[in-house]
Amino acid sequence: MKAAVLVFPGINRERDMARTLRLVSGRAPAMVWHTEGELPAGTDLVVIPGGFSYGDYLRCGAIAARSPVMDAVRRHAAAGGLTLGVCNGFQILCESGLLPGVLMRNQNLRFICREVYLRVERSDTPFTRGYNAGQVIRVPVAHGEGNYIADSETIARLEGEGRVLFRYCAPDGMIDPNWNHNGAINAIAGILNERGNVLGMMPHPENHVEASIGPTDGRGLFAGLVEALARAA
C-alpha cells in the first residue's frame, strides 16, 4: 500500500492516522502538505485525516476543500483511486463535492468524544472487506459537527444504491435514536461516492487498532484496504 496522508494547517490527527497505516500495512505513508499540486507518484490510497483544518472556521472543512492539493485528490478519485476521509476529512470531502451532503452541528450542540457502535452495512467494498455485513464494531468518535444531512432525494439515492457503509447503532446492531449521538439522518456514519472508491466517515477507526491501548475494531478497515490494494496490484 502506498498511502498519502494530507496535512492541512490545523489538521491534528495526521499522526494517529500515519501510525495506524504504518502498523497495519508495514509501510509509513507519505505526508503531503496542502500546497502540493500533485500526490506522490504511485499513491494508491489518499487519506484525509481528522482535526480542525483552518480552525474549522467558516464551516468545517470549507477552507481546506479549496486547497490546491484537493485538485490532485479529485484527479486521483476520478481515476478510481481509493480515498478515505475521516472526521474532518469527511467534512472536507463533502465541502469539496466529492461526497454529497453536509455535516451539521451535533444535535445537542456539544462536542462528543466517546466510543460508539457502528453497523457495517456491506462487506463487498475495498473499505469494508475486513468485516462481515451486519457486523457491529466499536470505534470512537470525537467531533462537534458530525450530524449528516442531505436532501431527501440524495438520501434516497444513497440508500437505494447501498452507499451507506456505516450506521450508528446499539450494541446489538439495532438502529436506535438513543445510540445516534449526533442525530445524523438515518444514523448515517459513513458514505461512499457513486463509484465506490471514496469513503467519508465521522468515527475514528484509526484510534482503535492497538490491543495494548484499547479495542481493535478499527483494524479491519485498514487491513481490508491493504488486502484490496494487494489484489488490485
Partner: protein, 80 residues
C-alpha cells in the same frame, strides 16, 4: 468600501442550532418565539470604490467559499 454578505440556510434544511436555541429561549422563560433559524454575516471591507465591481467580487467570494450553496442562500449588500 463596506459590504455585508448574509448567508442563511435554505428552507427545508434542518437547523440543529436554531432548534436548540428555540429550546433554550423557552427554558429561559422567554415567550413568544415560534422558531429560530441561524445564519451568518460577513462584514467586509473592500479596496476600491466601484459598487458594481464590489458586488461581482463578493458574489464570487460567496459562491466559491462563503456559502455552501447546497444548503445555503446568500445575499450581497454593498453599503458604500
Amino acid at each position: 468600501m463596506k459590504a455585508r454578505v448574509t448567508v442563511t440556510l435554505k428552507s427545508g434544511v434542518l437547523d440543529p442550532q436554531g432548534k436548540a436555541i428555540e429550546g433554550a429561549l423557552r427554558s429561559l422563560g422567554i415567550k413568544g418565539v415560534a422558531s429560530v433559524r441561524q445564519g451568518k454575516v460577513f462584514d467586509i471591507e473592500l479596496d476600491g470604490g466601484d459598487p458594481a465591481k464590489a458586488e461581482a467580487v463578493l458574489k464570487q467570494a460567496a459562491d466559491k467559499l462563503l456559502a455552501n450553496t447546497v444548503i445555503e442562500n446568500y445575499k450581497v449588500d454593498v453599503l458604500g
